[in-house]
Symmetry: C2
Subunit: 219 residues, 2 copies
């Protein structure tokens, strides 16, 4: 397809597509004349992924390029490649940095996360530990809860972890519905980004619903 059709099918303006091409977020089309190039379905998919990261995930162009490098690195085993691509997505900037081992709040959060991983049997997450950005983010978030005087413990967190497990089954089912390994890696990144606001908004709606139910019940 030509640039105009790529724009129409993706809903992304031709000016924006040209910008992504210049920034190497999108591979060049196949030249068919001095002024025209031909694009295919792989371009359309890649364009959707770039939009998901930049528009919904509010990820910088430079970071999006890093994520795409991981997506395209086919030297790795398929699941490792998916994991690496998702790892390269940004996390909360102030929480991922749990390196100060001497800080007692961080030490306590670390011990609780390790206990939680054991309790729920997440052996892969436990092995990776703080090499994983999500693990560091969890330690950082719990450290802040403790520092701010909000109590929590493994018992508090276990139900959240159990629910995350079920969400993960739904997530992976969605990803594996895509045919090729390439598409699965792209979908894993896009759906990680795109479902975060879905989850957060559903939680806020459910909180309001539950609060209203308890108000009606007089509790």
């Amino acid at each position: 397809m030509r640039l105009a059709e790529l724009s129409e099918r993706s809903g992304v303006s031709t000016a924006t597509i040209k910008y992504y091409l210049r920034e190497k977020l999108l591979p060049p089309g196949r030249r068919v004349s001095a002024t025209q190039a031909e694009y295919d379905d792989a371009h359309l998919r890649r364009l959707r992924l770039v939009r998901a990261m930049i528009q919904v995930g509010r990820i910088s162009v430079a970071r999006a390029r890093e994520v795409l490098a991981a997506v395209d690195d086919d030297s790795m085993d398929h699941h490792l490649r998916m994991g690496t691509a998702v790892w390269s997505l940004p996390h909360h900037p102030d929480l991922g940095d749990a390196e100060d081992a001497d800080d007692p709040a961080t030490g306590a959060a670390r011990a609780e996360v390790a206990a939680l991983m054991e309790e729920v049997g997440w052996t892969f997450a436990a092995e990776q530990g703080e090499e994983s950005p999500a693990y560091r983010m969890l330690v950082g978030a719990l450290r802040e809860l403790a520092r701010l005087g909000y109590p929590w413990d493994v018992e508090h967190l276990e139900p959240y972890a159990r629910l995350a497990e079920r969400i993960a089954v739904a997530d992976l089912d969605m990803v594996q519905a895509y045919g090729s390994a390439e598409e699965q890696v792209e979908a894993a990144v896009a759906l990680t980004v795109l479902y975060e606001p879905v989850l957060l908004s559903l939680r806020r709606l459910a909180d309001a619903e539950e609060s209203n139910r308890r108000a009606d019940g007089g509790s």
Copy 2:
């Protein structure tokens, strides 16, 4: 307690506390001399809430002041006050704006959200509709999923909503463990903010765990 003790007990520097006092995020202490003021547990709690919003929630000072105005508005019924305070928290900036009724992608997302609310029986959320920022964020997130060519429907979303319901029970139990109505409103706001990174990091960890499990299983 004096400023130094408030700083020590909250882990917030005296310079930052003085800044919050100037910005009216924290009510003034009780003057005991020309240069000294006395602070109490309400100051400590309020300081924690402000830290949660600004440091973890990355909320602007101006917005934090608006949230606190809602927290302090005791003219409302208790549950309404909690809901209003949480509503005033910022949402995803690009997704909350689902006002263009003529846009077919938005129209489709709206219809699906309404169908989902009916399916899961969230009558309060259905009544409030797009007056609720979380509802608008959900419509916006689904609109982007559809625009970007990622399929979803009510059947896809129902398990996520059911899990959000259970999270809400845990959330409200945590909030209601606080004694006074004032403390409950503050906790509702703080825990909404503080548990968002917990949930997102648990989901990413669970996704990696599930992906690894399926890789080992050869699927």
